[in-house]
C-alpha cells in the first residue's frame, strides 16, 4: 500500500502524551492524502488540534458543533459535488459520544442519504474531553465519572452500543471496525472506504491513557490486547458481506486486558468471568 | 372591495378555488388576494378560504368577516357551519346542492347541482371549478374567460379542459337562471 511520508496532522497539538486519537487521524490522513476535507465533531480531537490562532491540520478542516459533524459533512460533500470537485475526499472524525450518542441522528441521516463520505468514529469508550463520563460506547463493567463503581455498583451495567451494526443496518456500502494497534488493517480499510462510492463508516478503537488509566507508553499494547482477547473484533462489511479481517493465533484471556486498566480494576473475578463468557460467545460464533 | 368566503371540506379544493378566483380577477385587471383559514383539519373536515378583489391594491390581512359572496362546496356543511355568518345585506350565496335550501336573512341563494355536473363531465364529484363558473355567472365579479384561462393553467391537459367545460356549463346555467 502506498503511504505518504507526509504528515497531515502537524505536531505541537495539545493531546495527552500517548494519545491514541491523533495516531488514528495521522494514519487515516496518510492514506487519504492532501486532496481531502476533514470535518470534526466537538471533542478532544477538535480542541487539541485547533487552539486558535493555530491549527494542526494541513488539509482543509471544519468544525461546527458536537452532534452535527455528519450533517456538516453532508453539506460539504454536496457543495463540492455542486462544484464538480468529486475527486476531493470528505472525511469525518467524531468521537464515540459525538457518534453513538448525541450525533447518531445526524449520522443516520447522512448515511441513509448516501453522501460520498467517510465517517471515522474514534472510539475511546467515554466522554474524555469533558473528563471521562460514560457514553453509549462505554463497555460493560467500566468505571467512569458518571458510572462509577461503588458499594452498590460495579460501574457501567449495560453492554457497549453496537454502532458498526447500526451503520450496517443502513445498508451503506462499507462498514468496518479497526484498531490503531493494527495500522495496516486500518489503513487498508480507509483506502477501501475512500475508493467506494457512497458512505463508508469505520469504527476505530483507540485506547485513551487518561480515561482508561494506564501508562501512556502502553496505548498500542492496550489496543492490541483488546483485539487479541476478542474484546474488540476487526471486521468489515463490504456490500453486505461480513468478513473478519484479523484472527488472533491464540485468543488471550480477557482478564489480561481488563487488569491492565484502572477503569476495570474494581471488578471481581466473577464479573470478569461474566465478561469473558460474553466475549467467548461472540468469538465462538465468529470462529475467533 | 369584493370579499368572498368559500366553505368546503378538506380535499374538495376550496383553497384552490379561492386562488383561481383571485388569479382570474387579476387576469381581469383587478387587484386580488386569496388565503385559507388553514387548520390542521384533514380530508373531510370543514375548511374555509377567502378571496378579496378590488380596483386598488389590497393591504388588509385579516379574515373576511362580512363577505359579499359565500360559496358553499357541500350542502352537508349547513348542518355544522354557519355559512351565512356576517353575510352583507344583499349578499349572495352560491351553494352546491340538489336539495331544497331555505332562504335565510334575505340572502339571495343560488343553487347549483355542481356534483351532478361534476359526475357527468369529470366523472368524479369535484366541484370547485364548477362553482367558480356559477360564481362568475351569478355575480359578474369576474369574467368566465379569465376563470377558464386560470383553470387551464392550474390543471394541465385533459383535466383542465374538462374542468373548463364544466365551469362554462355552470356559468351558462347561472346566466340563464337570471
Amino acid at each position: 500500500m502506498e503511504i505518504s511520508d507526509k504528515e497531515f496532522l502537524a505536531p505541537g497539538h495539545r493531546a495527552c502524551a500517548g494519545c491514541g486519537a491523533t495516531i488514528g487521524v495521522r494514519l487515516a490522513l496518510k492514506v487519504l492524502g492532501e486532496n481531502t476535507v476533514a470535518v470534526s465533531a466537538t471533542g478532544c480531537l477538535e480542541v487539541i488540534t485547533t487552539p486558535y490562532p493555530e491549527t494542526s491540520w494541513e488539509i482543509p478542516w471544519m468544525h461546527v458543533a458536537f452532534e452535527n459533524a455528519a450533517a456538516v459533512a453532508s453539506g460539504v460533500e454536496a457543495a463540492l459535488k455542486s462544484q464538480g470537485k468529486t475527486d476531493t475526499t470528505v472525511v469525518v472524525f467524531g468521537g464515540d459520544g459525538g457518534t453513538a450518542d448525541i450525533g447518531l441522528q445526524a449520522l443516520s441521516g447522512a448515511m441513509e442519504r448516501g453522501h460520498n463520505l467517510i465517517y471515522i468514529c474514534y472510539d475511546n469508550e467515554a466522554y474524555m474531553n469533558t473528563g471521562i463520563q460514560r457514553s453509549g460506547a462505554t463497555p460493560y463493567g467500566a468505571s467512569t465519572t458518571t458510572s462509577p463503581h461503588g458499594k452498590e455498583s460495579f460501574g457501567e451495567d449495560k453492554p457497549k452500543k453496537n454502532m458498526p451494526m447500526i451503520m450496517a443496518a443502513h445498508g451503506v456500502p462499507y462498514v468496518a471496525t479497526a484498531s490503531i494497534s493494527y495500522p495496516e488493517d486500518f489503513m487498508k480499510k480507509v483506502k477501501k472506504a475512500a475508493e467506494i462510492e457512497g458512505p463508508a463508516y469505520i469504527h476505530l478503537q483507540q485506547p485513551c491513557t487518561t480515561g482508561w488509566g494506564y501508562n501512556p507508553a502502553k496505548t498500542i499494547e492496550l489496543g492490541r490486547l483488546a483485539v487479541e482477547t476478542g474484546s474488540w473484533i476487526l471486521y468489515e462489511i463490504e456490500e453486505g458481506e461480513f468478513k473478519v479481517t484479523y484472527r488472533p493465533l491464540q485468543r488471550k484471556m480477557v482478564k489480561e486486558y481488563l487488569d491492565a486498566q484502572k477503569r476495570f480494576k474494581h471488578l471481581t473475578d466473577l464479573e470478569k468471568e461474566r465478561i469473558q463468557s460474553h466475549v467467548d460467545a461472540i468469538c465462538i460464533e465468529l470462529k475467533i | 372591495m369584493i370579499e368572498v368566503r368559500f366553505h368546503g371540506r378538506g380535499g374538495q379544493g376550496a383553497v384552490t378555488a379561492a386562488e383561481i378566483l383571485a388569479k382570474a380577477a387579476f387576469e381581469d385587471g383587478k387587484y386580488c388576494q386569496a388565503f385559507p383559514f388553514f387548520g390542521v383539519e384533514r380530508r373531510g373536515a370543514p375548511v374555509m378560504a377567502f378571496t378579496r378583489i378590488d380596483d386598488q391594491p389590497i393591504r388588509r390581512r385579516y379574515q373576511v368577516y362580512n363577505p359579499d359572496y359565500v360559496v358553499v362546496l357541500d350542502d352537508g356543511l349547513l348542518e355544522v357551519v354557519d355559512v351565512f355568518s356576517g353575510l352583507k345585506d344583499g349578499g349572495k350565496i352560491i351553494i352546491n346542492t340538489n336539495n331544497g335550501v331555505e332562504t335565510i336573512n334575505g340572502a339571495e341563494i343560488h343553487k347549483v347541482d355542481a356534483t351532478g355536473i361534476a359526475l357527468d363531465i369529470l366523472g368524479v364529484p369535484i366541484v370547485n371549478t364548477i362553482l367558480l363558473g356559477a360564481f362568475a355567472g351569478v355575480t359578474g365579479a369576474v369574467s368566465i374567460e379569465s376563470i377558464i384561462k386560470i383553470i387551464k393553467e392550474t390543471f394541465s391537459g385533459e383535466i383542465g379542459e374538462k374542468n373548463a367545460k364544466a365551469a362554462k356549463l355552470a356559468y351558462d346555467a347561472a346566466k340563464e337562471g337570471h
Binding site: 496532522l9 505541537g12 494514519l27 493555530e54 491549527t55 491540520w57 507508553a217 502502553k218 496505548t219 | -
Partner: protein, 80 residues
C-alpha cells in the same frame, strides 16, 4: 485582531508550540540496532519520527510508545 470567524489560514501552525517541554523521559534511538520496521513512525501520536528515524525533540512529549513498540529494543527512555 482575530481573523474573521476565527479561521486559521496557516496549516500546521501548531508547530509554533514546542511540546518537547512536556517531556520527563526522552527516547534515544540506537540506529545501529534499528531494523527500520516503521513501528515508531506509525505509532507516534505527534508524528515526530521522520522517515530517516530522526526524532524531533521539539515536539516529542516522551510518551514512550516508540520504545514500547520497538521490536528490537533499539529505543531507550532516559530521564531528561
Amino acid at each position: 485582531m482575530v481573523s474573521i470567524g476565527a479561521a486559521v489560514k496557516e496549516p500546521g501552525s501548531t508547530r509554533q508550540n514546542k511540546t518537547g517541554s512536556w517531556r520527563t523521559f526522552k527516547p534515544i534511538l540506537d540506529k545501529d540496532k534499528c531494523i527500520k520496521c516503521v513501528n515508531c513512525i506509525m505509532f507516534c501520536p505527534e508524528g515526530c519520527v521522520n522517515k530517516d528515524y530522526d526524532i524531533d525533540y521539539d515536539f516529542c512529549k516522551g510518551c514512550g510508545i516508540c520504545a514500547e513498540e520497538c521490536p528490537v529494543k533499539a529505543i531507550k527512555m532516559e530521564r531528561e
